[in-house]
Amino acid sequence: MTDRAVTPPASPSSESPDDGTPADAPLRLHQSLVLPQWVDYNGHMTESCYLLVFGDNADAFFRFLGVDDAYRDAGHSLYTVETHLHHRREVGEGEPLALSLQLLDHDHKRLHIFHEMRHGRTGDLVATAEQMLVHVDMLRGRSTELPTHLVERLDLIRASHVRLPRPDVVGRPMAIRHTHDTA
């Protein structure tokens, strides 16, 4: 990969309304085509580029929350502490990707989120990502409480997302299961 590992926002920053309007469930804030520099010699999107696209989806969610350049310049950000990907099918150069995002849980400093990456035309599930994010004071290099206005926005989103079904892969550990080896 020769490009800088950051793709620009596909759409202008859109912040969530603070008027109590229910948030979309799930949120659909990011779409992308599979770029030529994302595919390997087999023509399939490489593993690390799934992280790139899910990262762009997380960034779109951050902007929606109000965690944007100005917020980061003031010294705070959301850092990924864990990511668990499930790959479901391959995608090739030029194919459209449509991302959704579900807020599973949050507390005063952590966000537990779930992304789905689907094929933009067929709707086929391409991959999912479960992530744990932590609010960080970048100067001190440690986790710190989210400001009240962000917790209130998260409360609103969660009130809407709590009625979504909990994806069955959430929290599931990784293992080789030997009992039903019929794949």
Binding site: Y41, S48, L52, H84, H112, M132, I176
Partner: protein, 165 residues
């Protein structure tokens, strides 16, 4: 632990400018690049990498990856990887890889589940016996290495790895 048993160590790379994000820290996806390149070196040592695919039409596909991000990396940091072959069956391989900076700080850990796929038929298939025996020898050799406590745990608010790190 026997003294001659050690994790697989081959990967070594310096953090590159294009791996950084807007904070001048290494981007999530770049940890993914380093971890998958490190794992690719293990597959290559087992003759299960690009040449194997070209020769047989079969390849290992990643079905799951679970990365824990532990410390930041900046331009000039040198990263090395240590990999344990955790387990395997004829169709699957599970690897655990730790990425360390040159100051010995562990910056990320990754658990990976790979599926052996016959790419011409687009379905899972067992590895041939000779290569599988080689995989099993590495599983057996690594069997005496200590397993980290977080291996095989999922993500969740109750999981201690997500606390005030």
């Amino acid at each position: 632990m026997r003294e001659d048993v050690a994790p697989f160590v081959t990967y070594r790379a310096e953090v590159r400018r294009e791996w950084l994000d807007y904070n001048e820290h290494m981007h999530d996806a770049s940890y993914g690049i380093a971890l998958s390149d490190a794992n690719e070196a293990v597959f290559a040592a087992l003759d299960l990498s690009a040449d194997y695919r070209a020769e047989t039409g079969a390849a290992y596909y990643t079905v799951q990856s679970h990365i824990r991000f532990l410390a930041e990396c900046r331009l000039g940091h040198v990263l090395t990887a240590r990999t344990i072959m955790v387990s395997a069956d004829p169709k699957r391989i599970r690897l655990y890889t730790e990425l360390q900076r040159d100051d010995e700080q562990t910056v990320a850990t990754g658990e990976f589940l790979y599926l052996h796929v016959d790419t011409t038929r687009g379905r899972a298939a067992p590895l041939d016996e000779e290569r599988y025996a080689r995989v099993q020898r590495l599983v057996a050799a690594h069997g005496s290495l200590p397993r980290p406590d977080h291996l095989g745990l999922g993500i969740g608010p109750e999981y201690p790895g997500t606390g005030d790190a």
